[in-house]
């Protein structure tokens, strides 16, 4: 098991390096530091000296990929590409382009509001999707199943934006049940969190129910289910005890990969509800065109995805004793 995990992490190294090279190429080659300086300093009335000054201050004054002035390894390491992308490999995110804030520190503080909103959505969403899907599978072929399926297809055809805007309007502004947006630390955050969590669960439930229903129906056609029924077990027991356990592999494939992303929060939810999390941080960076932050967030997202894939493989061993990771 341990050697498997080590090997998986080693496999991930070239991918991490690849992601790093790709983002660096996108940000430094296509959009040169001169362009960035001009965007930050303002398009007009900017002198070449001011651009050079900005580049020197932010460490962009080296050649992009190859430094001919240095010798040996220095030709490769004394470049913008290496100086800006290599520290990311050991999670040193550096400072932002615009306000010179410490990106790593910012990530550490903003991660908590993100988690406060994404973890409840994740747990409540998964539980309700699985429950409804199992109810539909339990009464498959009936009117309940038909209308449940119709409802989930209709619900997944509506853009998340409508759920957010509609929910804010109806529950927040019209019925005045919750504050429309905002955030507070500690226990007081609860009243701000209810609305986004409710909306988050509702907007994901359509596609989730439809997917898990197919998973359960697939299981219900298998031999071991017939055996369980032949033993005289009730349909509910067959479904919850036997079906659910065996459906865990496709469920985990779908779910575990997204767990690391809970740190990341949701880009749209956080801006709509003014939650000061990482999603909001990213959107702000996009809108102010702070490439150092965007690049760090792209990189962080990729790392979380790769961690998610490794966790998925490990989780298979927990639910299925036949899976051996060697």
């Amino acid at each position: 098991m341990f050697s498997y995990i080590v090997r998986r992490i080693l496999y991930a190294v070239p991918i991490v390096v690849g992601v790093n090279c790709l983002t660096a190429a996108l940000f430094f080659y296509v959009n040169t530091p001169d362009d960035m300086a001009r965007k930050i300093l303002g398009e007009k009335n900017v002198t070449p000296a001011a651009i050079e000054n900005w580049k020197a201050g932010h460490g962009y004054n080296l050649p992009a990929f190859v430094n001919a002035k240095e010798s040996g390894l220095g030709t490769l390491t004394q470049t913008v590409f290496f100086q800006k992308s290599a520290p990311l490999l050991w999670l040193d995110f550096g400072r932002s382009d615009r306000n010179n804030i410490d990106i790593g520190g910012e990530i550490k503080t903003r991660m908590w509001p993100s988690l406060a909103i994404s973890v409840p959505i994740f747990i409540a969403g998964l539980a309700s999707e699985l429950f409804v899907a199992m109810m539909l599978a339990r009464w498959r072929g009936t009117l309940l199943d038909l209308w449940g399926l119709v409802a989930s297809v209709v619900m997944m055809s509506v853009s998340a934006l409508f759920y957010i805007i509609g929910g804010q309007y109806v529950l927040g502004k019209y019925l005045m049940l919750f504050p429309i947006s905002g955030y507070d630390a500690g226990v007081h955050s609860i009243k701000f969190l209810v609305l986004p969590v409710v909306i988050g669960v509702i907007s994901g439930v359509g596609s989730g129910v439809r997917f898990y229903r197919t998973v359960f129906l697939e299981e219900m056609g298998k031999d071991y289910i017939r055996t369980a029924r032949a033993k005289g077990l009730g349909e509910g027991r067959v479904l919850f005890k036997h079906g659910l356990k065996n459906a865990m592999i496709p469920v985990l494939t779908n779910v575990v990969v997204s767990i690391p992303f809970l740190f990341y929060g949701s880009l749209i939810m956080e801006t709509f509800f003014s939650v000061p999390g990482l999603g909001n941080f990213t959107i702000d960076a996009i809108q102010s065109q702070d490439f150092a932050i965007v690049r760090s967030m792209v990189y962080l997202g990729s790392i979380l995805y790769i961690v998610g894939l490794i966790l998925t493989d490990i989780s298979y061993t927990l639910v299925d004793p036949r899976v051996r990771l060697e």
């Binding site: 070239p14 991918i15 690849g18 992601v19 790709l22 983002t23 996108l26 940000f27 296509v30 959009n31 297809v153 209709v154 997944m156 055809s157 509506v158 853009s159 998340a160 934006l161 409508f162 805007i165 309007y169 992303f261 990341y264 880009l267 749209i268 990213t282 959107i283 996009i286 809108q287 065109q289 490439f291 965007v294 690049r295 967030m297 792209v298 997202g301 990729s302 995805y305 790769i306 894939l309």
Partner: protein, 378 residues
């Protein structure tokens, strides 16, 4: 004088492939069987008819030309067939907001009565009854704005996949058929791309490329650089990047299927007859992958249409000048906080979007059931 945008080519490609499928249905027995299977589902056929209606609007909005001007040369603006057909809606602008079917403006102004007195009242519209879905802040017709959004929706939904299908087929087949180092490289490339969170890759790409070329709105003289072809178009870049983020799934599917097909008897027998690698790929493998391509295309369609609205909200979607449902939702957000509420912009975007995405979801499911033999007859 015709003017063609890069994204118009996508719409033309979509129309051509639809026609090609129609011909193929008559000739090819397998496609015909799948079509007959599909025809039996009434809901799927209704959905197809609705999608076709949207596609027709998009096509009409993609054929555009400049009129000859009086003093020689051409008029500056290139109007599409849709602009011309709906010129009543396009040109009959009011002063500001008006509710659907309303005969009056939405805000009070000083109105001069026939007897000369001036009172604060809701002034009558210039064209009462003309605006079925109301008007927006500058008095533009909402129905027309929604219709202009149709092309954007169709282009995003179809274009993102169309743009990358050739690459996905090429790399998937090559990796699956030849294996070895080629397979390793292709797998490495798509795993790397897939591990970058889609939305962030889109953000990075659009920040870098999105600002170039035609941004939507009227097509001016400077956009038309190469005689009549406008190669740079923000919507096109959006299709490219959405395609890049979504091709990895298709490529993985195709690679796995090619691995399977390569070992089947008919490919083996073709090989013993001395057929070369390229010939086997072209004649025996690619045709048997097309159902996967089609399924992926229809399944991804609705998700991409929904993605457009979210991206436009973040500010990295189509340009603010271009008609799109995402932009309508974005403006509607502020209108909802007005008092009294301006709700019709949001409602129109909702209806038009829902009317495309729901049929696309239903039709996508039906196509998958009809083409994937493992699910057939269930």
């Amino acid at each position: 004088m015709p003017v063609i945008l890069a994204t118009d080519l996508i719409v033309y490609a979509l129309a051509l492939s639809a026609a090609w499928f129609a011909v193929k249905t008559r000739r090819d027995g397998n496609v015909r069987a799948a079509w007959l299977e599909l025809r039996r589902r009434r809901l799927a056929m209704i959905s197809l008819a609705l999608i076709a209606l949207y596609a027709a609007v998009a096509l009409a909005d993609s054929i555009r030309y400049r009129d000859a001007a009086q003093g020689g040369g051409y008029s500056a603006e290139a109007l599409s067939l849709l602009d011309r057909a709906a010129s009543g809606l396009r040109t009959r602008a009011e002063k500001t907001y008006s509710a659907p079917f309303s005969g009056r403006l939405f805000s009070k102004e000083s109105v001069e009565l026939p007897d000369g007195r001036v009172v604060r009242d809701y002034p009558a519209l210039k064209y009462p009854g003309a605006h079925w879905l109301g008007t927006d802040k500058v008095g533009g017709d909402i129905l027309f704005a929604s219709l202009k959004g149709v092309r954007t929706g169709i282009v995003i939904g179809a274009g993102a996949t169309i743009v990358v299908i050739p690459f996905a087929i090429f790399f998937g087949v090559v990796a699956g058929y030849f294996g070895g180092v080629i397979d390793d490289v292709v797998q490495y490339v798509y795993t790397t791309l897939a591990s970058i969170p889609g939305v962030l890759l889109i953000v990075a790409f659009m920040l870098l490329f999105g600002g170039r070329g035609y941004q939507g709105g009227l097509i001016s003289e400077k956009d038309v650089a190469l005689a009549f072809f406008v190669p740079n178009d923000r919507l096109f870049w959006l299709c490219v990047i959405l395609g890049i983020t979504s091709w990895t799934d298709l490529c993985r599917l195709i690679r796995a299927e090619t691995l399977k097909l390569r070992e089947l008897e008919y490919v083996q027998s073709a090989r013993t007859f001395g057929a070369g690698g390229l010939r086997i790929i072209y004649r025996h493998i690619v045709p048997n992958l097309m159902h996967l391509v089609l399924i992926t295309f229809v399944i991804q369609f609705s998700g991409l249409v929904l993605a457009e609205s979210v991206l436009s909200y973040i500010g990295i979607g189509v340009g603010p000048e271009m008609g799109s449902w995402g932009n309508m939702i974005n403006t509607a957000r502020l209108e909802l906080s007005r008092e009294p509420v301006v709700w019709w912009n949001l409602l129109a975007a909702f209806i038009f979007m829902f009317g495309l995405v729901l049929p696309a979801n239903i039709f996508g499911d039906a196509v998958r059931d009809a083409l994937d033999p493992r699910l057939r007859g269930r």
